[in-house]
């Protein structure tokens, strides 16, 4: 966010020599108009690492936990551990990291995960992103104080602030100084396309274009194991039916020299399912992000659709109501939020589930 107090703006205009000349405006008359302050306020929501753009407000970690359990836990888990749908937000940081500003686990090649708080150096990033993009299916719906509260809750889960901490625009800059990986970033590389960071000019790899007898005889060090041969589907159906090479039929074992090619028919991906009814259901499952939490035949965060189908076979009306009102407790402690799905759409999905949720 960038707000110039008017007085400063006026001075800046007179003082600054770097402002672009008004030539363009003269060159392209009638193109564009001034934005009103109201319009700028509506869209200019970004918060920088120096907290320019941060709206005043506050929220406690305790309040954050309540919001979390209602609006965030279904994707991120009760304690930010996520794991199966989204990357974990919490964990992997220590008191020592908070002192040093370097997350030690990032150096350990045997520490397998990288949580958000192991990586992120700036608290402004967390506040800004929750504010602009969360919750995932209803971005920008949190009130300012709720963003503070959820941010405070995440900080407390990571042991950066106490469990009853109240985060506000007054103390957020101080809390940023406790971020466990605040010293974990470097711009000493040649991959920024300008000189703004005074980075490194020379790329970090220096291959030479050798042409003859360049290397010893190569050994194959890594390739796909046989069990993964068909893991991406039949590759014969992922190549054009004519051409210098055809796709390998990966539904069969690897061919041997002299084996003939098997003619291939063009086949579009089957992701949409066979019938148009299934297509409609799939479209709705995607539209309302149902499939983020429910697999057709496997539990993700919520129960598998086929498990729901067993329990509520034929109960279309009940399922419609459940989608629209949400619920908690039947399948576990993670709540399903109410879905803003129309009656007709809910009926399409509910009918499919009630009939067995077949693929």
């Amino acid at each position: 966010m960038f707000r110039f107090p008017k007085a400063i703006l006026a001075t800046a205009l007179i003082a600054a020599s770097g402002f672009a000349m008004a030539q363009s405006a003269a060159k392209y008359p009638g193109v564009g108009r001034d934005a009103t302050p109201k319009e700028v306020a509506a869209w200019d929501i970004d918060v920088r690492p120096d907290f320019k753009g941060l709206p005043p407000g506050s929220g406690s970690a305790t309040a954050g936990q309540d919001i979390w359990e209602g609006k965030c836990a279904q994707c991120h888990g009760f304690f930010g551990e996520s794991g199966e749908v989204f990357s974990p937000l919490v964990g992997g940081v220590t008191k020592e990291d908070i002192k040093t500003g370097h997350v030690a686990n990032l150096r350990a090649t045997n520490f397998p995960g990288r949580t958000t708080f192991m990586k992120v150096p700036t608290l402004s990033t967390i506040w800004d992103y929750i504010n602009r993009a969360m919750p995932w299916n209803a971005p920008k719906s949190l009130k300012t104080d709720e963003v503070y509260a959820v941010t405070a809750f995440l900080l407390s889960l990571n042991g950066i602030v106490p469990d009853n901490f109240v985060l506000s625009d007054k103390n957020i800059a101080d809390v940023q100084k406790l971020m466990p990986n605040r010293n974990g970033m470097t711009t000493a590389h040649a991959m920024w396309p300008g000189n703004e960071f005074n980075g490194v000019k020379k790329p970090d790899t220096q291959n030479v274009a050798c042409m003859k007898d360049c290397a010893p005889e190569p050994k194959v060090a890594s390739f796909l194991p046989d069990f993964a041969r068909n893991a991406h589907g039949n590759l014969a159906e992922q190549n054009r039916m004519v051409g210098a090479q055809h796709g390998a039929d990966t539904t069969r074992p690897e061919r041997k020299a002299g084996d003939a090619d098997v003619p291939v028919k063009p086949t579009a991906p089957k992701a949409d399912g066979a019938g148009s009814e299934m297509k409609a259901v799939n479209a709705l499952l995607q539209k309302y992000t149902c499939s983020a939490c429910h697999g057709v035949d496997k539990k993700i965060v919520g129960p598998a659709f086929q498990d729901v189908a067993k329990k509520y076979s034929g109960q279309v009306d009940y399922l419609i109501k459940k989608m629209q009102s949400g619920g908690v407790g039947i399948w576990g402690p993670i709540p399903m939020p109410p879905q803003k799905i129309t009656d007709a759409e809910a009926k399409t999905v509910a009918s499919w589930i009630a009939a067995g949720a077949n693929k």
Binding site: M1, A16, G18, F19, A20, Y28, V31, R33, A35, V40, D44, G80, G83, E84, G91, L106, P112, G113, T115, V120, P121, T125, D128, A133, W136, P139, K140, M185, T186, A190, M191, P193, T205, N207, K212, C214, P218, A221, F223, L224, F227, A228, R229, A231, H232, G243, A244, Q245, G247, T251, R252, R255, A260, D261, V262, P263, P266, P269, K298, V301
Partner: protein, 454 residues
């Protein structure tokens, strides 16, 4: 030699590489002292099913003295064809091309809104990616936005905050330029070892289009931007994630960065940001903000989520490279490539794509013996700056195993590294910016495999 443990596993989203053990460990950390709560981990990859091999085919002269496809005139030679606009006014590819699709990598992501579909590089010609086959990467799902209601705002260190409609932007002088766009996480799954079978999945997050639009500098000048103190520009999208990325003013001043509405002669596709997207040549795709709604001129970088949590490159010393943006010089042979079968010995055209985020591709060398000896390929014109470049090389296959590689060099003299060189400086946990030389093993059977050589 065979890497049973590491290779072939199903990988998570490009930014979310967590093994099953990883989830467990992190999870345990997170819930220490909290209530008990355990879930199942990722589903394992499916295995193949054994079926016997099939009969011979080829192009022999049949016993009846000629090819029935020649001797017996087909229906299309003896009947009346279809009329104009029979397909509803927008033409589609032949039905025989149905295999050529952008595809998801199974198991890579759990939702389709924060996911990837890969372009079928193995089936494409030249340097232009058909718009419908352009790779997709969304962070919070795509939208089809009414262009008459879309606005672009420019604010920050400017004389006057400005608002533009599409009508106005399209009135301004436009440029049309070919550029590649590559996701920073392209080839990420192969950083540690071979994980996917074909070039579609290893390199399919690169595409190239002719984009049409207005240089951003023109719009900044219209707003009277402070081009000296305003060293950084924030680009922001209008979708749910309202993606933000920091763009260097120096690149904007060069005139290269533009706001595009056109792609390959028509408007942008909705999946590509219709009606307006930022074009940042040479820079990773995440900076090419889709559904572009706002540009803010500022004096410091913004540390957006995709600059401080994702799209940061972990180095062996535990530091992350931040604001790593340039897609360095890279190339890949697209045919023959993984998952394909050479039907016979004899002549083949080795063909592939090369590109560099620092300018033009100067030269591409190809090896068929795993990098011992190289021959320089023909570059098919035009070779354009920060665009895909097509290369070709004649090759006669003798039926023996061959390891095919390509190695590109750009106009700065930078030579694409091999895996050993890349890993020696960046380790294997960097996720982003894998521009290593790709190896394809042509086996005696003719079947081609994705391999890495030591």
């Amino acid at each position: 030699m065979r890497d049973e443990l590491g290779s072939g596993r199903v990988q998570k989203a490009p930014e979310s590489f967590l093994s099953r053990e990883g989830i467990k460990t992190v999870f345990a950390e997170a819930k220490k002292g909290r209530r008990d709560f355990i879930r199942n981990a990722f589903a394992a990859a499916a295995a193949g099913v054994a079926v016997p091999a099939a009969l011979a085919q080829g192009n022999p002269v049949p016993t009846e003295g000629g090819d029935p496809n020649i001797l017996k005139l087909p229906e299309h030679s003896t009947g009346l064809g279809q009329g104009v606009a029979a397909d509803g006014g927008y033409g589609k590819p032949s039905k025989y091309e149905a295999n050529v699709q952008r595809r998801q990598s199974p198991g890579l992501t759990q939702t389709t809104q924060a996911s990837v579909s890969f372009a079928p590089l193995q089936s494409l010609f030249g340097i232009v990616t058909p718009s419908g086959l352009h790779f997709e990467r969304h962070h919070q799902g795509w939208w089809d936005i009414d262009p008459s209601k879309h606005r672009l705002m420019i604010n920050g260190m400017v004389k006057a905050n400005k608002v533009f409609t599409l009508d106005e932007i399209m009135r301004l002088p436009s440029v049309s330029r070919f550029h590649f766009i590559e996701c920073g996480a392209n080839t990420a799954v192969d950083w540690g070892n071979v994980a996917v079978p074909t070039v579609q999945y290893t390199h399919g997050m690169v595409s190239c289009s002719e984009f049409t639009g207005v240089p951003l500098i023109t719009l900044l000048e219209l707003a009277g931007a402070d081009l000296k103190k305003g060293k950084f520009v924030l680009a922001e999208g209008a979708d749910g994630s309202s993606m933000t990325r920091t763009i260097p003013m120096s690149l904007i001043l060069s005139g290269e960065v533009f706001v595009a509405y056109g792609q390959n002669g028509e408007m942008l596709r909705p999946e590509q940001g219709y009606p307006l997207r930022l074009i940042v040549p040479g820079v990773q795709g995440v900076s090419w903000v889709k559904y572009l709604r706002r540009i803010e001129v500022g004096d410091m970088p913004y540390a957006a989520k995709d600059e401080a949590v994702h799209y940061i490159d972990l180095q062996p010393d535990g530091q992350h490279r931040q604001y790593s943006s340039i897609q360095e010089c890279k190339s890949v042979v697209t045919t023959p490539s993984g998952g394909q079968v050479l039907l016979d010995k004899g002549f083949y055209n080795i063909t592939g794509l090369a590109w560099s985020g620092r300018g033009k591709v100067k030269r591409v060398d190809v090896s068929t013996d795993g990098g011992r000896n190289w021959r320089t390929a023909r570059l098919e014109g035009p070779t354009l700056s920060k665009a895909l470049t097509r290369f070709n090389l004649d090759w006669v296959w003798d039926g023996k195993p061959a390891i095919i590689q390509s190695r590109a060099m750009d106009e700065t003299g930078f030579v694409q590294p091999n895996y050993k060189q890349l890993r020696s400086v960046r380790g294997t946990r960097s996720i982003y910016h894998n521009n290593a030389i790709q190896s394809w093993l042509v086996q005696e059977s003719g079947e081609v495999k994705n391999v890495q050589v030591s």
